[in-house]
Every structure is written in C-alpha cells, then in structure tokens.
C-alpha cells in the first residue's frame, strides 16, 4: 500500500512513539488524525505537521471509551473521507509487583491495587481492541485497503513488576493472528494486521520507570542504547508498503537480551 495519499489514525499521537509515527507518515504524504488525551500535545503535533506542509486533524479522546472511539473514527472520515492505517500507540504503565512483603515478618504487606491493574488493561488492551475494531469496521464498510497496527511490547514475554502491562501486551501481540484469520474467513482480503513490539524506547514513558532498573536493562541491549521512536515509525512505514508483512508481531528492540545472552 502506498503511504502517499493514504489516511492514518494514530492513538497516543501526541507524544513519544505515536508522535514519531504521525510525523513520519505525514512526511511521506499521508493525511493524519492525531488522537490523544492531552489537548496541548495534540495542538503541538498538528502545528508541526502544518509547518511540514502536511494535512492533519487533532481529536482529543480517551481510547478506553467506546463513544470516544466512534467519535475519532467519524472525525477522521469527516476530515479526510477514508481510513487506511490505524496505529494504536496510546498506552500507560502502572508498575508494581503483585505482592510486596514485609522485610521483617516475611508476610504480605501490600498487594498490587485493582486500580493499577484495571487502568493498564483498559488503556493498553481494551483501548487497542476498540481502535482496531472500529477502524476495521470503517475500512470494511468503506471498501478501503488498510493496515491495522496494535502496539505490543517486548515485555509481552512477561516482565516482573509488570503483570498488568505484560498481560495486556501479550494479548495485543496475538491480535494480528486472530484478526487476519477472521478476515480470511470472512473474505476480507485487503486489510492486513501487523503488531509492533518495541523494546526500550527513548520516550517520556520511560521517565516514569525506575531509572536504576532502566540503566541495568540497557546493559543487556546489544545495540547499547535505547531504540529511537523514529526507528519504530520507519518500521511501521515499511509495514504499510510491504504487503507480504501480515498476521505477525515484529520486535524492534536493538537486540534486548536476558542477562547471560539469551535473546528476549
């Protein structure tokens, strides 16, 4: 599929990886809908895209809301008349171990709160599902070729301290198989689905992480640095253009390894 002239919707497009994806696609000639919860970030990104000579609409919304999802799909269609690419970058972390133990007694002193579990599942899993579902609905009904891109994470393998996040991301990574299988069954041949599983990437999300843990993790990255958001954006552009990529999850980690060299 050609990027030039296509229409892309990116949730979480106001920051980090989403912002890089929006700008990369706009630079390549796509019309873009920037969906985010933070209005001032949307405003900044839409302004930047105008300065690049691109076409953009900003829509403030919460991806966990079904009504908001319907609204940003409708807004994208009203602005540009079609939809071809949907990237679900909106995501959050609320890290913590499931149990914390009292050092002296060895008994459980704290449990991971349901609020932390639910917020991450709502945003990272339900939000992705709603965007993929409603974007696919628009593409099928409009008869437009399309690419659906859930954003997973390399921590889909299971990261201690991220039971909520890893559970959501492993489910996001499964979506391409299920969605494309369903499309095949239904005779929908012109819409693909490829998930991206980034490794540790230089975005504001990482500022919320334990910085000592991050430093230790970087020692296990073969590349020796964080992945740049633009590198993920260029991979997504490649996925748009290469139609053989389908029903799979692609990791982009810089070579993140477990300690002692076992690739994650």
């Amino acid at each position: 599929m050609e990027i030039k002239g296509s229409v892309a919707l990116v949730t979480g497009g106001g920051n980090g990886i989403g912002e890089a994806v929006v700008k990369h696609l706009a630079k390549a000639g796509a019309k873009v809908a920037v969906v985010d919860m933070v209005q001032k970030n949307i405003d900044r990104v839409v302004k930047d895209i105008k300065a690049m000579g691109g076409e953009a609409v900003g829509i403030q919304a919460n991806v966990t809301s079904e009504a908001d999802t319907a609204r940003y799909i409708k807004g994208t269609l009203e602005a540009f008349g079609q939809l071809n690419i949907a990237v679900s970058c909106a995501g959050i972390i609320r890290d913590g171990t499931m149990l914390s133990l009292d050092k002296e007694t060895g008994k459980v002193s704290k449990k991971l709160g349901l609020d932390k579990w639910q917020a991450v599942i709502d945003t990272n899993l339900t939000g992705t599902f709603l965007t993929m579902r409603d974007a696919a609905e628009a593409m099928v009904n409009g008869g437009w070729p399309g690419l659906l891109v859930p954003i997973s994470s390399v921590n889909k393998v299971g990261q201690v301290g991220q039971i909520n996040y890893s559970s959501a991301k492993v489910a996001d990574a499964l979506m391409p198989k299920i969605i494309v299988g369903e499309f095949l069954m239904r005779g929908i041949r012109n819409i693909r689905c490829v998930a991206i599983a980034p490794g540790y990437t230089a975005t504001p999300m990482l500022t919320g992480m334990n910085q000592d843990a991050l430093k230790a993790i970087l020692e296990d990255v073969h590349l020796g640095r964080l992945v740049a958001p633009e590198e993920i954006a260029s991979l997504i552009s490649y996925c748009v253009e290469n139609e053989a990529l389908n029903a799979t999850t692609i990791e982009i980690t810089g070579g993140l390894c477990y300690p002692r060299g076992i690739a994650k």
């Binding site: 405003d43 079904e66 609204r71």
Partner: protein, 105 residues
C-alpha cells in the same frame, strides 16, 4: 475566512493554498490549530459546511449527566463498584450565560 460559532466555541476556517485550516479561538485570547490542510479545492461556503460538521464531531458538548460510570466497574468477587463518570474530555462548566442561547427572563 468564515467564522463558526458552535456551542459558544469560536472557530475560524482559513485558506491555506487550495486547502483549509480550522483554528479554535479560545476564550482566553489564545488559539489552537484544530486541523490543517483539509478539503482540497473546496469553495469557501462548502468548506465552512464541512468544517462545522467536523468540529461538531471533534468537540461534542451538551448537557453532561455526571453519574456512575457503569461501563468501568471495579470488580471484587461478585461486587461491582462503580465510580463517578467525570472523565469526559470536553466537559464544559457553564459559568457564564450562553451567547448562542442567552437567558431570557
């Protein structure tokens, strides 16, 4: 350069080459670009009609009942605990009389 008033929100639709930009003019005197480079080749009147439909979708407002958020209950066993629904992004506090529907006593 058509100006749109919708639910007390002021927008302008400005030409940019053969396309149109939509700017949201905020009450505090600042502005934000709501959309850039839309509706190629459309005449001003048609662009204004399309722009109005778009801002009505992007900025939904109206009477918002702030009640329990039944779609996101916290579950503890069989118990569903629902919090208040106060998360609407465009919730408007009507602290002044409406311009489009002024109060008539």
């Amino acid at each position: 350069m058509p100006s749109l008033l919708y639910n007390d929100m002021q927008f302008s639709v400005d030409p940019s080459g053969d396309r149109w930009d939509i700017t949201y003019n905020l009450p505090n005197g600042t502005s934000a670009l709501a959309a850039a480079g839309l509706f190629p080749g459309l005449a001003e009147a048609d662009a204004a009609i399309r722009a109005l439909a778009l801002v009505k979708t992007i900025f939904p407002v109206g009477i918002k009942s702030v009640g329990p958020d039944v779609t996101h209950p916290n579950r503890i066993g069989d118990l569903k605990i629902v919090g208040p629904d106060v998360t609407h992004p465009n919730f408007i506090y009507w602290d002044k009389d409406s311009v489009s529907s002024p109060k008539t006593l």
